[in-house]
Symmetry: C2
Subunit: 212 residues, 2 copies
Amino acid sequence: MKDRGILIVVSGFSGSGKGTLMKELLARYPDTYALSISATTRSPREGEEDGREYFFVTKEEFEKMIAKGDLIEYAKYVENYYGTPKNYVEQKLEEGKDVILEIEIQGALKVKKAFPDTLLLFVTPPSATELKSRLVGRGTETMDVIESRMNRACEEAEGMDSYDYLVVNDDLDACVEEMHSIIRSEHRKSSRNRAFMESMKEELIRLKQSEE
Amino acid sequence: MKDRGILIVVSGFSGSGKGTLMKELLARYPDTYALSISATTRSPREGEEDGREYFFVTKEEFEKMIAKGDLIEYAKYVENYYGTPKNYVEQKLEEGKDVILEIEIQGALKVKKAFPDTLLLFVTPPSATELKSRLVGRGTETMDVIESRMNRACEEAEGMDSYDYLVVNDDLDACVEEMHSIIRSEHRKSSRNRAFMESMKEELIRLKQSEE
């Protein structure tokens, strides 16, 4: 039997390239990972498909999911709900897949509280200088845009400490492998191998007794 | 400047093959790792060299090291002292090397208490059945030998839970890479990158102010 998968939350600075990173990770290891699909009440945009980008539901359906506890976490932006359906995630974890949630820090902390075994990864550019230049852009942005990006980055930075690991996105290829390696290593944590350790202990004691 | 190295304690079942594993890890990554060399009051055996297998010291010298706090941990087996000199370890950590201590569980727990950042790895065969067959041997061992190995394995198993990671030694090559990967990942832990996060935050705030 395959071990149960790990629930992984990936957040990161805007401009950290985490979207591309996730796509590449899933493309390279399709049998290892599953990307959680959010439910939302907003309308599908052109090219978006129900069950691929999002599960598109009505406001009534979404509120029913909230009431029944069917969401791992949810939030309301402007007039639309966004949330993570529990069923899909549970099913993939049972299949032994590591399930990745790409959400913001507030959602990440809610998930960690509800499921303390969740692995929190934060994607960051390699240096403040690099982040700075990505935020300021190529000199074509208005002051308003730069200011709002700056405010956002400062808020995002405040949350970094709550994450388990920092994933430095310098080179995409290296970064995908680093992330994969962090998650593989996580499977070897003692706290995730209690059953293995118990069976080892029991069998050793049984064998010792049979020798006496 | 290279980051400071990580202090790593490796323990494991007798017969887990951890000695071979360590040798191979150091041979493959000589610039990454350093093996801590213990001090001992026992006499050198044939072929052993001072400063390679052990630092061979007198009882008086050893007791002076204890008194001066020059040892990370020490223990007395039969009539001989064994201990880990702090200087050598500190020097290698400063050079940015990850320093590996191959010691028993009691020593491991003492080190973790004194240096909470220590990474504890436990090497185990892939299953209780496999461990069992390694312990019983090939049917050529006396009952006494088997019983003493069994008692020891049961004691060692009790300590597994205190370690951070389990390293499963099935295939030597894969196991060396797994151990290397766990240690590489450990360097990405948020708790080991406080300075990086602080400088990111400070620079972002500075930049935000300069825009206002």
